[in-house]
């Protein structure tokens, strides 16, 4: 690890470094004591163990083909080819401003809300170009959970039912939606906590519960792909652990793409990892490859905490 030592001599005082011991099978060293790390400094959820998956890569649901996105002519994502597979969690990692979130948002065309954004290249969902879908249809199939928990100012029930109802309407009525709402809340692991208080305002829930409510809301319409933009960065370690558990349960029914600054989180929950660097896809591979035997020196440096 010569680059790392170099780095430490260049920048006094030495930054707290998160080390990934490279041997086989990969193990993870406990989080550094004291000081925020480049990876975001979220406290580790030590009790949580990575669950290995027996089966190999699943069915490909989405793929970007030479996807480039620029904001006002300034490129944010450069010619990225990336597959999103059913039954696995894909983590996008990389330093701030490297295009992770832009790439994520482009998958359900949320980037189009930014007036200056322009796109080149194709994105396919089940082989079909996403541009050929009605954007509302695309977003029902490729839903998203955001960094900040953002329930709407309505009841818990109405929040989950929101995606199931007609545009701007309160129909269908509550009775008809009870089943799918309960189902979504169960899948988000929230039913036991809110099952008897569905008419309470969603904004009175705790932050972690609000985020799981947002996941339930996103799951209600039975999407094929779930995009998550740092879903735990505003949450405490305990809520983070709940949500990570939840993501692992969800990956069989929905393809999950998650942006995270927390390398340990990526290690714990991802099946494949894409490392982004200055808008480019520097390396993509199974989690064992990225954290254990990265092909690129930059990936190696990043996951070992030499920069970030």
């Amino acid at each position: 690890m010569s680059t790392e030592q170099q780095h430490e001599t260049l920048v006094p005082p030495p930054p707290p470094v998160r080390r990934i011991v490279i041997d086989d099978p990969p193990t993870i060293v406990p989080a550094p004591r004291g000081g925020a790390t480049a990876a975001g400094g979220t406290a580790p959820t030590a009790s949580f163990q990575r669950t290995e998956r027996a089966d190999a890569a699943g069915v490909e649901r989405m793929r970007t083909h030479a996807l480039s996105i620029a904001y006002g002519g300034k490129p944010a994502v450069k010619a990225v080819d990336l597959p999103v597979r059913q039954g696995e969690v894909l983590a996008l990692i990389g330093p701030s401003g490297c295009g992770k979130t832009t790439l994520l948002r482009s998958l359900n065309r949320l980037t189009e809300l930014t007036a200056t954004a322009s796109r080149e290249g194709r994105i396919t969902l089940d082989g079909g170009d996403v541009d050929e879908l009605e954007v509302t249809e695309l977003r029902r199939r490729v839903s998203m959970v955001f960094q900040q928990p953002n329930p709407f100012p309505m009841s818990i029930f109405d929040n989950v039912a929101y995606a199931l109802r007609e545009q701007g309407s309160k129909r269908p009525r509550k009775a008809e939606l009870m089943e799918p709402v309960e189902d979504a809340l169960r899948r988000a692991g929230l039913w036991d906590e809110v099952g008897t208080t569905l008419d309470h305002p969603a904004l009175r829930l705790s932050g972690g519960q609000q985020q799981r409510l947002c996941i339930a809301r996103a799951l209600a319409a039975r999407p094929e792909v779930l995009l998550m933009d740092e879903p735990c960065s505003a949450l405490d370690p305990k809520s983070t652990a709940r949500i990570e558990e939840l993501i692992l349960q969800l990956r069989d029914e929905v393809a999950v793409v998650i942006v995270t600054h927390n390398l340990q989180q990526a290690y714990r929950i991802a099946d494949h990892v894409a490392f982004m660097w200055l808008g480019e896809l520097e390396e993509y591979g199974p989690v064992e490859q990225i954290f254990g035997a990265a092909h690129s020196q930059r990936t190696l440096d990043y996951v070992s905490g030499a920069f970030g």
Partner: protein, 309 residues
């Protein structure tokens, strides 16, 4: 207090006491107005006045109550808010959620500011000129033989009053919309909702308390305005419905008075001469404003029950 103020510079201590004094003085003034109006109002107001019509004509020294001015105040406020509320919320939505092209948005913003800054007497005079145009005579009436419209009616006064409330409603709604983080809108879009659906089901319910606050302020301004009433409502003590084929629209196209114009008319500056009735009317006006604010707060409660923002 942890800090000992004796260690402060004299200048700072003086400033500190001045702030205290200013706060206390304001309380004293507010209390003085409230108590004076309460005492005068309670002593001058007979409950029967609320249900008696005022004397027909200017002189109010004889018999007569406040029924017509009360009805007039409520009517003008209702018309004004009925116009200003949808318009104001619409303008605010457009300014925050659309606002393209940019130059038009700036123009609309400036327009709202100009209206907000225009004294109501100027609006009143402008309204009189505008609504005297004979093609707008449907809002008032056309005197026989004249080639201009009369230009004074509840509809006309209410229409100009809506301009007073409009900037307040636009401002409050806009502030509420601006306070909603972008990711809340995106969360709705990310569930496959259209912009229209997002506005209707997420944004408008969220800003309901803001809309209510703006409406309450607007109602307060409308119900308290005198200039527009004196010039555009005719300030006739009694409602003077227009007797014509329009039937129910008669009162709306006719003239009348409000509590403010009644107070003005019976103050030493006016010609009504019934000072005691002016006090009674002012007291009723204050009561109505308080009640209206409570009603609006109650209507806004729906959103507050969902935890507001």
């Amino acid at each position: 207090m942890i800090e000992n103020r004796r260690s402060w510079a004299l200048r700072d201590r003086l400033g500190f006491y001045a702030c205290w004094a200013a706060g206390l003085a304001l309380c004293a003034i507010a209390a003085a107005v409230a108590i004076y109006m309460l005492v005068k109002g309670v002593s001058e107001l007979r409950p029967a006045m609320l249900f008696e019509r005022p004397s027909d004509g200017v002189d109010q020294r004889g018999q007569g109550g406040l029924l017509d001015p009360i009805a007039g105040s409520l009517l003008v406020t209702t018309i004004g808010i009925a116009i200003a509320l949808p318009l104001g919320v619409g303008v605010a939505l457009w300014l925050v959620e659309y606002a393209r092209p940019f130059w038009l948005a700036r123009l609309v913003e400036s327009g709202v500011e100009v209206i907000a800054g225009t004294p109501s007497i100027v609006l009143a005079v402008f309204g009189l000129i505008l609504f005297s145009e004979s093609f707008l005579s449907v809002l008032s009436f056309k005197p026989e033989g004249a080639d201009t419209a009369f230009g004074r009616s509840f509809l006309i006064a209410g229409a100009m009053m809506s301009l007073i409330a409009l900037p307040l409603i636009v401002g409050a709604t806009r502030e509420g919309l601006n306070a909603i983080p972008g990711h809340v809108r995106e969360a709705s879009y990310a569930l496959g909702k259209t912009k229209a659906a997002t506005i209707r089901r997420v944004l408008l319910p969220t800003v309901r308390p803001n809309i209510a606050a703006g409406t309450a302020l607007g109602m307060g301004r409308i119900i308290g305005d005198t200039a527009i009433i004196v010039i555009l409502l005719g300030a006739t003590a009694r409602l003077q419905p227009l007797e014509d084929v329009f039937g129910p629209a008669g009162p709306l196209r006719g003239t009348g008075s409000t509590l403010t114009s009644f107070v003005y008319n019976n103050s030493p500056a006016g010609e009504g001469g019934a000072f005691e009735k002016a006090y009674a009317a002012a007291f009723v006006l204050l009561l109505i404003v308080v009640v209206l604010n409570l009603v609006v707060a109650r209507i806004a409660g729906g959103a507050a029950r969902q935890g507001g923002r």
